[in-house]
Symmetry: none
Subunit: 401 residues, 2 copies
């Protein structure tokens, strides 16, 4: 794992450039016994060449057996011990929509939901209302005021919004209101510490007001709040690693994590082609680029093996455009595995390649789970990726005399 | 390693079943340079099939280079950091014979030994007296009383017994009396902390009384005390992992460790066939079964390469009876290596396979040290086994959002 004090002490300036290409949920499983995974099925001549010239392994995002959420999995890729540094989902949502979260703000992820006449939830996602409807409802909820604090309500996507309270004396350590099942009533926010009592009270008042405002709306006639948390105040990557760091990601949450660790979040458009254009446009301005591809994970979550294969192949086709920029170090990995056969994130370690002129290539000849299992990196913690990338970029001095 | 707080937070209910099959001292060494280990020599078509369908690796019980005792090695298999959680041998002996150890009891492993007229030990095991003799002598030692505490003396097996003191103010942190060599006198118990002074004094009084009672006995005319310790109060597996856990083991010490971590210890008989019958009998009652095979280790300790091979082959022949129960996850491993050529426990990492429908199979095709060294798990801490087993049994929720 990256020891941040060691990183701070050893990092040195250089003109080299690093690309961390993260295909979300990259790792997979064979569709049938004895078969190949999504990545192994995909025709990926360019990734295979990088794997053959580079060094490969399987990275463990959190710990053996632990299925990571996207937040902790990304922290690990950026070198942050995800068991030490925790980010509430509300914080991620707020940052992901570009909300400028202050150090003492409390943020919650809100879901519109449907309740019946008894107040029991019948749909936890309010029929997945479109974003346009979400924006309209959020506008209505902005009428709610609370004593002594500022209140921000921001639409996110579909049925999701962010609620942020700003003011003195707010604290986190609060329970969620989503009962995680239909047929149950939303729960009250409860304080887990005495310091959080005031914040719990304010949030419960806000929920009561929201219930009244939404009462006549269908299907989004109620809200739940989840992941209520403060900005954790993480160390910043530019400070820890001594690099100008940029994030290219299309999806709010990943932009949010990147912002949280101090990266400059670039305008990345909507497609991988857009993202490459952003990379080209900003190539001279930064030392390090986090480049995120979301749709591999979405396909895995949908259980669509073939679509995941296609997306990987599409990234492979575009890879020469990235390599044409002549990066010094390229890491290709995922934040976690999302095997289509499981239709969910999983605990399986993630195929990872590191390519540079100095990486000491191993015998792995293709980019896939089985080859990576034979790679010289073996199974290794994802938090090792950043120190390895910096070392290969000649950005770390010697430790000790 | 299993972070217990993470396990507690993430474990979820399921109907899946896990078997942890531990062949004690499984790992070995080739008999001659270039040869095969015991496991590689054994004809094991059933284990080989599990290895081919599963994921393999070499587990490190404690740390690289460390030869484990059975207690810490088993704690690691159960997910307990053996450097953090220590169990005195006396505690294991007491629990292994079914003694209901209280939280403040102090337990010691006792050995009958032979001393000459000068009080010097001539046989540290009193000619390995039979258990019947041990029971008779223990009955005599029960006459000893001590001020302010209850005293329990229990026969274990052959020349071994357990001594337990119960009462207020007892402490551990005490030296052993076995000088670990013949020609020397038994040592006094010494307190390593001021709080343990009283306990040391009581134990020395008990030893003096035992010496008098045994004076005329041959060859068991004296005792030594080892591993004097309190119940360490370990977290319980059912609480940490959220599973109903059972232990099937024929040998007292392993039953003792299992009890210490909160497993229900089943009546397991004396043979592997008896143990399988116990597994079948209790199959519907538990989620997790620790299944222990002792004799691989005994053969290794005796330096009997061929007998160790035979025992492994015998287990392999019985394996279809275990698989017929349709477990969801099967882990086959050892607690440590006991190479016949070394006639002792060793530091070598232990061949390990994990079989489940979701394990992401690797290229290992047979169950043996060389194949496991090429397995996708690589060399990995034995404490990872439980989280991996739970993950494969779909018994862990996602960590973070």
């Amino acid at each position: 794992m990256a020891d941040f004090n060691v990183m701070r002490e050893l990092h040195t300036s250089a003109t080299t450039k690093i690309i961390l290409l993260v295909m979300d949920g990259l790792g997979g499983l064979p569709r049938e016994a004895g078969g190949k995974t999504e990545l192994e099925t995909a025709r990926t001549p360019n990734l295979d060449r990088l794997a053959a010239e580079g060094i490969c392994g399987l990275s463990i995002p959190i710990q053996a057996g632990i299925t990571p959420g996207s937040g902790p999995a990304h922290l690990a890729l950026f070198g942050y011990d995800p068991l030490r540094y925790e980010i509430g989902r509300g914080v991620l949502e707020a940052l992901g929509i570009g909300f400028d979260l202050g150090p003492d703000d409390v943020a919650a992820r809100g879901n519109f939901c449907t309740v019946n006449e008894q107040g029991l939830i019948t749909d936890r996602r309010a029929g997945r209302i479109p974003t346009s409807k979400c924006i309209e409802l959020v506008q209505m909820l902005r009428a709610i005021t609370l004593p002594g604090v500022e209140v921000f309500v921001e639409a996110v996507e579909d049925y999701r919004f962010a609620l942020i309270l700003r003011g003195p004396g707010l604290a986190d350590g609060l329970t969620e209101t989503d009962p995680q099942a239909t047929g149950k009533a939303p729960l009250p926010v409860q304080a887990l510490t005495p310091e959080a009592e005031k914040t719990a009270d304010l949030l419960n008042r806000w929920i009561a007001a929201a219930r009244q405002i939404l009462a006549s709306q269908q299907p989004a006639n109620m809200v739940t709040l989840r992941g209520i948390a403060k900005n954790p105040g993480l160390p910043s990557m530019p400070e820890v690693y001594g690099m100008k760091t940029a994030a290219i990601a299309t999806y709010p949450m990943y932009r949010g994590v990147a912002k949280l660790v101090g990266m400059t979040v670039l305008d990345a458009g909507h497609t991988v082609e857009d993202e490459i254009a952003a990379l080209q446009r900003h190539w001279n301005e930064f030392d390090f680029f986090y480049f995120h591809v979301k749709k591999t994970d979405s396909a895995g979550e949908d259980g669509d093996f073939d679509r995941k294969v296609s997306i990987i192949e599409h990234v492979d086709e575009l890879l020469p455009q990235i390599m044409a920029l002549k990066p010094d170090v390229v890491v290709v990995t995922g934040d976690h595995s999302t095997p289509a056969v499981l239709k969910s994130h999983s605990w399986h370690p993630v195929p990872t390649l590191l390519w540079s002129a100095f990486c000491r290539p191993d015998r792995a000849q293709a980019f896939g789970e089985s080859d990576c299992a034979q790679g010289a990196l073996g199974q290794f913690p994802a938090t090792d990726i950043m120190p390895l990338a910096l070392a290969n970029a000649r950005r770390l001095n010697k430790f000790g005399a």
